[in-house]
């Protein structure tokens, strides 16, 4: 019995990369596992961080902005309102942070086993999926609590709920598309990560997570809608609770834009990856 080995050149072009990524999808688990392990390595509290991380800032913001300062929340309990916005925002922000570090964190893999590098940004995002699962669990608990307490059904009961899943997916794809660029830029320097950290802080403020879009003065609202995340977050809250407005055209535009950016990102990544890896 002889084993047959076939050595073939890699598929050319973007389509080839996509095929290749699909063929190597088994590696995703391996890459994700590595990312999870690295998350809290060398820390004393270890996995406890997983719970401290999402809960503390949330509770505090709810206390200060909701209870103390009485910021509007489209008629929802402020905590629930903030939680919903945070879920969809953090899918974007944590995925982007981890995706950006994809190449830099997996350098040691370059020489060891062949893998399409395009698999790394997505695989490295695994910690953010774990974060999402935790947040969704907290959200379900909070929803149950407020529903019982107020005797009012906050969640809407129609097909629009499916759109919420779409919004989550869109925010994930947007992060992935950007990661194809940022992971290349961030491969060599840590500056990229720090600059991104500062940018995310500003971006968070400009996205209606802590406040409803309806509270933005009318003359600025048009500008706010230029932020794709604003549309995604508003869509998410609208499809869950029926609050705020549904910006159909803007949502379609955002979805199309994200798909284009994804394609552009993959093209850029495919062109540059060989050089980035070879220069090491």
């Amino acid at each position: 019995m002889t084993e047959r080995w076939e050595v073939s050149p890699r598929y050319p072009g973007v389509a080839g990369t996509m095929v290749e990524v699909w063929q190597h999808r088994g590696l995703l688990r391996f890459v994700g596992d590595r990312a999870l392990r690295k998350m809290y390595r060398r820390t004393v509290l270890g996995w406890l961080w997983l719970f401290i991380n999402p809960l503390f800032p949330l509770a505090l913001r709810a206390l200060v902005f909701g209870a103390l300062l009485g910021v509007g929340s489209d008629g929802l309990p402020y905590f629930l309102f903030l939680l919903a916005g945070t879920v969809v925002w953090e899918v974007f922000s944590t995925s982007l942070m981890w995706g950006t570090r994809a190449l830099e964190m997996n350098r040691d893999l370059y020489g060891q086993v062949y893998h399409p590098r395009a698999i790394l940004p997505f695989g490295n995002m695994t910690p953010s999926f774990l974060n999402l699962a935790l947040k969704v669990a907290i959200f379900a608990l909070a929803l149950a609590y407020y529903t019982v307490r107020d005797g009012r059904v906050y969640l809407r009961g129609d097909w629009a709920l499916l759109l919420a899943v779409g919004a989550l997916l869109l925010s994930l794809l947007f992060a992935l598309a950007l990661s194809f660029f940022t992971s290349i830029w961030g491969e060599r320097t840590r500056d990229m990560r720090f600059a991104l950290g500062g940018l995310m802080g500003v971006w968070y403020l400009l996205t209606p997570v802590m406040y409803p879009l309806s509270q933005v003065p009318a003359e600025y609202r048009g500008w706010m809608l230029l932020n794709p995340l604003a549309i995604i977050v508003e869509t998410f809250k609208w499809s869950l609770f029926g609050v705020g407005e549904f910006y159909g055209a803007a949502l379609a535009g955002t979805a199309a834009g994200v798909m284009l950016l994804l394609l552009a990102g993959l093209t850029y990544f495919t062109r540059r990856e060989a050089r980035v890896v070879a220069e090491r």
Partner: protein
Amino acid sequence: MSNTAAEWRIASDAQDGVGDRAAEVWQYRQILWFFSVKALQTLYAKTHLGVWWIFLRTLVPLLVASFVYGSVMNIASGGVPYLVFFLAAQVPWNCFDGPLVRGSRGLEVNRGLLVKLYVPRIILPLGGMTPGIVEPVIVALVLACTLIYYRINDGIWYVASEPRPLAAVAALVLVLAFTFSVTLFTSVWQARARDARFVLRYVVGFWVFFTPVIYPLSQVPEDLRWLMHLNPLTAPVETFKWAVLPGMEHSWTWFLYTVAVTVVTFFAGVRFFLRAESETMDKL
């Protein structure tokens, strides 16, 4: 060849006791200068924008936050435009935030140097803190520009009728002293465990919400204000605003409370630092 044997004397600069240590730090003050300049350069080294980068990084988040908090979330600001209120509170707050985070890295960052030469280690967190002074200075300059802008645009000086520069400076110095005292603990923790950095980031992120920086103290229900004042940063922030802006209130009693807390933290910090120095730092 002369016959005199060479005389060797081993002189150690390390001495015990807080007073001796203070004298030692004074002896090594030029090294403090060296570390400060080095830390200052890392602020903008290797960036394309150079020094402008510091301005951009400090100002853009502040201006955006001021717009969101003031115009969108409509947070009260005690009778002055929100931007003025917010910037005035950010000056003392930035004397804490930046210097604390930077000073805490002091030991960790200079680990390699510690093996090569002797310096009183207490100099490292102090040297690391110094570039943190840049940000409050920038914020203060922008505050001044904002005041002038409102003077021209609205015809109103949003400045206290009798500004109290001494009180303002005293408040800032107090914040810096408090920050240094805290750094004595945090720099050691951070050299020991990576968590410390995360914890610190969290605590500082928390702390700003419990300090009247984004909202005035008058927003807090009266019976809970003492709770806010237990936070040692509340009093100096209030004093600074009172010294600069019109129509603000503050309390010297709570200011003295912060002075007391700072003194206690400082001595406890020095003790802690000196002990940790012999126990763990040589194992870095």
